[in-house]
């Protein structure tokens, strides 16, 4: 079916519009959100199969020929990311039922979550640079509302900073699009790539590549543009934090990946070297900050920044190994960051404290929670059978084969810091004297643990069956290495004017 790739965008959109009419009826809202999220997941899995069997899927909206209308393109990379998004949304919505509270639920929480998914899926799927800007805004506007919903003091304060940073980066995005349009005269991404290949990236396009790096780096939080993230992600409640940590920054990383492999791959000496250096500094600073705090939320937030650095290092290395590693690690990181934020949310729900020195012996009372936390920390650090391993080893081997000894070693070392930063939480909070935390029989955490278990299981199987995942990811990387595949799929074999 040719319109298949629109469905991950249109299903949450329709659901969101319907949800607006059921403001007060929370049960109906929950059911519609769950059905929409599950439907989105099912459709995106079908989409993966279709892309795998039939190659890149494109839809020209309104039947306008490729460079003139808006084209939606779903290659394997975006299909995989859309699937990960749908799975994470489903689990976060399940987690929200118990944790988000009636007041937020009855003030348009569920519709805004669906609009966030519209923005994220749209940004992953679009084939038009200005359309990507619009989907970014859909995503950001929903994230403003999600950040401030509930209206506590810390949320109000952090929203102001978050909005200010994002308005600036959106204005920069418009400026970057204006420059790009004045140089190549087109907005379709495949057509832009074709025209840049014709002029072979003169200096102005290198400037533009750096401008795009600044724009997407602000969204994706790389050094020196991550200053807004720790405060902003600290403010909202756990399920919203999980959605942000898993999806928002990854859209920025995806955009860097897309532009740096599709547009600016001709003169990689300056741009990709810059990206490599910035990502290494990101990793180092993230590692320092992750071990500096005793606050679980802060630790996980700085782990996002480390992971962003690791992924962009793989993009900067720009060889087959490193790019495969980046794609592996990107999807793993989306899953595992959602797990960690939900786990932290659950621990705070039980103990009432984000400081891990304030409680101990949780594993005595909540063994399942403890072991999920343990497994997800090991997966995050990249212990072999689990999901973080394959991505990181490919990135490191890509770094070595490029001859960047120092960089690859920094990536390896960062794993130790990641492991240390969260294992501290496990040792102090879960081991030790069980009297440091109370078993509260009135707290039934089963329904909140359930979505976490789903995500942990999918993360484990992502690691264990990575050979099976590899056939999909190889196909995703083919497009990244050879942009002509993408261009041919969008523009057809007919030469565009």
């Amino acid at each position: 079916m040719i319109n298949l790739l629109i469905l991950p965008i249109i299903i949450p959109f329709v659901a969101a519009v319907i949800l607006i009419f059921f403001k007060k009826d929370i049960v109906v809202q929950r059911w519609i959100s769950i059905i929409a999220a599950a439907g989105g997941l099912a459709v995106s899995i079908i989409l993966i199969r279709t892309v795998y069997n039939e190659g890149i899927q494109t839809v020209n909206l309104g039947s306008w020929e490729a460079p003139f209308g808006i084209t939606l393109v779903s290659d394997m990379l975006s299909a995989l990311l859309v699937t990960a998004t749908s799975l994470i949304t489903l689990c976060c919505i399940l987690f929200s039922f118990r944790s988000i509270g009636k007041e937020r639920e009855s003030s348009f929480y569920y519709p805004v979550v669906q609009f966030l998914v519209v923005g994220v899926n749209g940004a992953f799927t679009t084939g038009d640079i200005f359309n990507m800007f619009v989907f970014f805004e859909v995503m950001l506007m929903s994230s403003y509302v999600l950040l401030v919903i509930g209206g506590t003091k810390i949320q109000l304060r952090e929203s102001i900073k978050y909005i200010l940073v994002n308005i600036t980066s959106s204005a920069l995005f418009v400026i970057a699009v204006a420059y790009l349009y004045s140089i190549v005269g087109t907005l379709n991404m495949a057509h832009i790539s074709q025209r840049i290949a014709e002029v072979d990236q003169p200096a102005i396009l290198t400037v533009l590549a750096v401008l795009f790096l600044i724009v997407f780096g602000l969204k994706g939080a790389i050094f020196p543009l991550f200053f807004w993230l720790p405060g902003a992600y600290y403010a909202p409640p756990a399920p919203i934090m999980a959605l942000f940590g898993a999806l928002l920054t990854k859209v920025g990383v995806y955009s860097i990946l897309r532009t740096y492999t599709l547009f600016f791959y001709h003169d990689t000496g300056f741009t990709h070297e810059l990206l490599t250096i910035l990502s290494l500094i990101t990793v180092v600073l993230g590692s320092i900050a992750a071990i500096a705090y005793k606050d679980m939320k802060k630790i996980v937030i700085y782990n996002i920044i480390i992971a962003i650095g690791v992924i962009t290092y793989g993009i900067g290395a720009m060889n087959a190994d490193a790019l495969t590693g980046s794609v592996f690690y990107l999807i793993h990181d989306m899953l595992i960051k959602a797990v960690l934020f939900l786990l932290v949310g659950l621990i705070v729900f039980i103990t009432g404290s984000t400081d891990y020195t304030k409680f101990s012996g949780l594993i005595k009372h909540y063994p399942l929670l403890g072991w999920s936390f343990f497994i997800s920390v090991l997966a995050l650090a990249g212990i072999p059978p689990l999901s973080g391993f394959v991505g990181k080893i490919l990135i490191v081997s890509g770094g070595f084969s490029k001859g960047d000894l120092v960089g690859a070693l920094i990536i390896l070392m960062s794993s130790l810091f990641v492991l240390y930063s969260l294992m501290r939480v496990f040792i102090n909070g879960f081991w030790g004297d069980p009297s440091g935390s109370m078993k509260k029989p009135e707290l039934k955490i089963g329904s909140m643990l359930f979505p976490i278990i789903i995500l942990v299981i999918s993360s484990i199987s992502y690691g264990v069956f990575s050979e099976w995942m590899n056939m999909y990811i190889t196909q995703a990387v083919e497009v990244l290495i050879d942009p002509t595949v993408y261009i041919d799929a969008v523009l057809g074999n007919a030469q565009a004017p």
């Binding site: 509302v145 102001i160 200010l164 308005i167 204005a171 004045s182």
Partner: protein, 110 residues
């Protein structure tokens, strides 16, 4: 003509940056307004200010101005309008709740 527009846009950006670095929240919001104004003029300028009629086919002219940037600007204007409206209401709520409009007093994570 493009040169004049570039200087003007540069001036708008400079004022926007200056205002956004100040302490009062309202001045910051005025700065974002100027910033988006500059970005929109930039879109118009970068697509070329060649002479031509308005893009209406009824005009029957030989040359038209480029219609694409106008559509892009229209989209960007409504988006920034929505965001600015949200930001203004947020600033109002923040003023009510926090009792200050000084960005220096909005620190900390507690």
């Amino acid at each position: 003509m493009e040169i004049f527009m570039s200087v003007l846009i540069g001036f708008l950006f400079a004022s926007a940056v200056y205002l956004m670095l100040s302490k009062s929240l309202l001045r910051i919001i005025i700065g974002t307004g100027l910033l988006s104004h500059g970005a929109h003029l930039m879109l118009l300028t970068m697509a070329g200010l060649k002479k031509g009629t308005v893009p209406l086919l009824g005009e029957q002219a030989k040359a038209y101005t480029d219609p694409i940037p106008q559509a892009l600007i229209l989209t960007a204007i409504v988006i920034s309008f929505g965001v600015t409206a949200f930001f203004l209401v947020l600033a109002y709520r923040a003023y009510q709740e926090l009792g200050t409009d000084n960005i220096d007093e909005m620190r900390g994570t507690e």
